[in-house]
């Protein structure tokens, strides 16, 4: 058995999501190789080589992979996959975009977003917004899997000394090209790896009012998230969305402000270690999962919270 992990990276650094996938790979067993496909990826490849438990890093450095276009990266995965029993990627937007394309080309039924490894061919995955956990067994020769990062511990980023080999590029499929991106520059930690997350819902009433949450987030070095209702209402961009069809988070502390707690939102945050809910409706379902609940008007309670955090 041997596992190939498709690295999540920004060419210079390896994203923490990949370290969680390494832990999932260790539960499957066998040698672990990491594929770093991109352009100018020396930094990310060097970081991957240092991860404890990794035997080899495959570096595919080519303009075709610069923007992670699925058509090109999937082609590369298809070329490499026959050498492995399992191919894993984090269930990030990138992983979800690329892996099914590779799976179909290999005639494999991918297993999406696993939360546990039962054996090398049997895995647990959440369905119905996490309300039903399915144990599934794959009969495919190669298993293609995306991994829910929050369900697996983070592997040590240091301690390994894997060899770095160049992988032959599989070329540009010529089907799509990258035009540009609008990525928000922020000093805050990433939503999916932050230790503390402060999220707002429909109760925030406007995008402007998210400044109240940013003030709390500043005090706690937290990421700011949102419910689907807040995204739907246009308060904040979609990449803030925590939930079934947004991001899955499991921070040490999750503070839900003005969020009622629809099952679709709970699906994205209920594995957080400590949950705080601030809502004026004492019957809001969010209180049923919150460790600490504050029934209050958020426009009064949140500034008070910021103040209270200032006092040591």
């Amino acid at each position: 058995m041997s596992v190939l992990i498709i690295a999540e990276h920004d060419n210079a650094t390896l994203k923490p999501a990949t370290l969680h996938v390494v832990t999932a790979a260790q539960k499957i067993g066998g040698g672990i190789h990491i594929l770093v496909a991109g352009q100018g990826v020396d930094g990310a490849a060097a970081a991957a080589a240092k991860v404890a438990g990794v035997a080899k890093v495959l570096k595919a450095d080519h303009a075709a992979y610069a923007n992670q276009l699925a058509e090109n990266v999937a082609k590369l995965i298809v070329a490499l996959a026959p050498n492995y029993s399992h191919v894993l990627a984090a269930a990030t937007v990138n992983g979800k975009n690329i892996m099914p394309r590779a799976a179909a080309l290999l005639d494999v039924q991918q297993i999406s977003e696993i939360s546990a490894v039962e054996s090398p061919d049997t895995f647990v995955r959440p369905t119905y917004a996490g309300n039903a956990l399915a144990t599934v067994q794959s009969s495919d020769k190669i298993k293609l899997i995306t991994v829910r990062a929050t369900a697996f511990d983070i592997a040590p980023a240091e301690g390994g000394s894997a060899a770095i080999e160049s992988a032959a590029a599989a070329g540009d499929a010529g089907l799509s090209k990258f035009i540009g991106q609008e990525v928000q520059k922020t000093e805050r930690p990433e939503l999916t790896s932050a230790r503390v997350v402060v999220s707002g819902g429909r109760g925030m009433q406007s995008g402007d009012n998210f400044k109240l949450l940013e003030a709390v987030a500043d005090k706690l070095n937290a990421a700011v998230g949102a419910s689907r209702a807040a995204v739907d209402a246009g308060f904040v961009p979609n990449d803030y969305q925590v939930g079934q069809t947004g991001k899955i988070v499991a921070p040490e502390l999750y503070i839900a402000v003005g969020i009622s707690g629809a099952i679709q939102h709970l699906a994205g945050m209920k594995d957080s270690k400590v949950i705080v809910a601030i809502n004026k409706d004492e019957d809001a379902p969010i209180f049923q999962v919150a460790d600490y609940g504050l029934v209050a008007d958020l426009f009064q309670a949140v500034p008070e919270l910021t103040q209270a955090l200032e006092k040591k």
Partner: protein, 250 residues
């Protein structure tokens, strides 16, 4: 340009699903079913393309048991022109769905296929990517904006981790919808009546030459462990005190 839209019948988003006591799946008997929300966005986008003169015909396809015809009717009431129902009672997994849709695409030759990014029942998030792979077409997933260019290309803005990204794809291509692409319309009563007269063609996996047998075997389905409610605090100050001294998370 002909547009093909795939629509899936799922347990309604507002239903609290219950796991069957024998652990074989979730209860779907006597439960409200609806079109998957991301498929509604897909139909809406196709209808808007037609209204803008970019699409000539919209074909709505659904796969599964007899009741999927209702989901196709919903798409027809929203503005699709005709339906195709691939009838089967076999449990369909994403790879099989992609193969069946490919067979329909080979027959219909659309210039664009629009699918939801994810179905809210199995949460797989695979079918659109798989369909484009099998067709050898480009894929534009998690779309929040679509612009059809005149030169057999389209620009699609995608929702990615950290923000937005725009790619250009050659037509024909497969697009999957994200939340902000549009806000689906409600079908009006006259359109619901009109939809009853629109044709739905029935096909089978056998007729399409596809083996839909599932590759993943579901061994069991269980409910996740429940989180219990904690305590209510009276003030922000008390909350901070608890977080510092009891939970010790800040």
């Amino acid at each position: 340009m002909k547009v093909l839209v795939a629509v899936k019948r799922v347990v309604d988003a507002n239903v609290k699903v219950r796991v069957k006591s024998d652990g074989t799946g979730v209860e779907t008997q006597n439960v409200k079913m609806s079109m998957n929300p991301f498929c509604e966005i897909a139909v809406e986008e196709a209808v808007r393309l037609k209204e803008a003169g970019k699409a000539t015909e919209i074909v709505a396809v659904s796969l599964g048991g007899a009741s999927c015809a209702e989901t196709i009717r919903t798409a027809l009431a929203m503005g699709a022109d005709r339906g195709i129902h691939v009838q089967t009672d076999v449990e369909l997994q994403p790879l099989a769905v992609a193969k069946l849709l490919k067979a329909v695409v080979d027959k219909e030759q659309p210039g664009l296929c629009i699918l939801g990014k994810q179905a809210i029942d199995d949460d797989s998030n695979q079918t659109g990517q798989m369909l484009s792979a099998l067709l050898g077409w480009p894929q534009a997933t998690y779309a929040s904006k679509l612009v059809i260019n005149g030169d057999n290309t389209a620009n699609v803005t995608r929702e990615v981790d950290g923000g937005l990204e725009t790619i250009q794809v050659k037509t024909p291509f497969v697009m999957t919808t994200d939340l902000r692409l549009n806000e689906p319309r409600y079908a009006s009563l006259p359109n619901i009546m009109k939809a009853k007269k629109k044709p739905i063609e029935a096909l089978t996996p056998e007729a399409l030459g596809v083996d839909p047998a599932p590759r993943l075997k579901t061994l069991k389905v269980v409910e996740p462990s429940k989180r219990s409610a904690g305590v209510k605090v009276k003030s922000a100050a008390e909350l901070v005190d608890k977080l510092r001294n009891e939970a010790k998370v800040i």
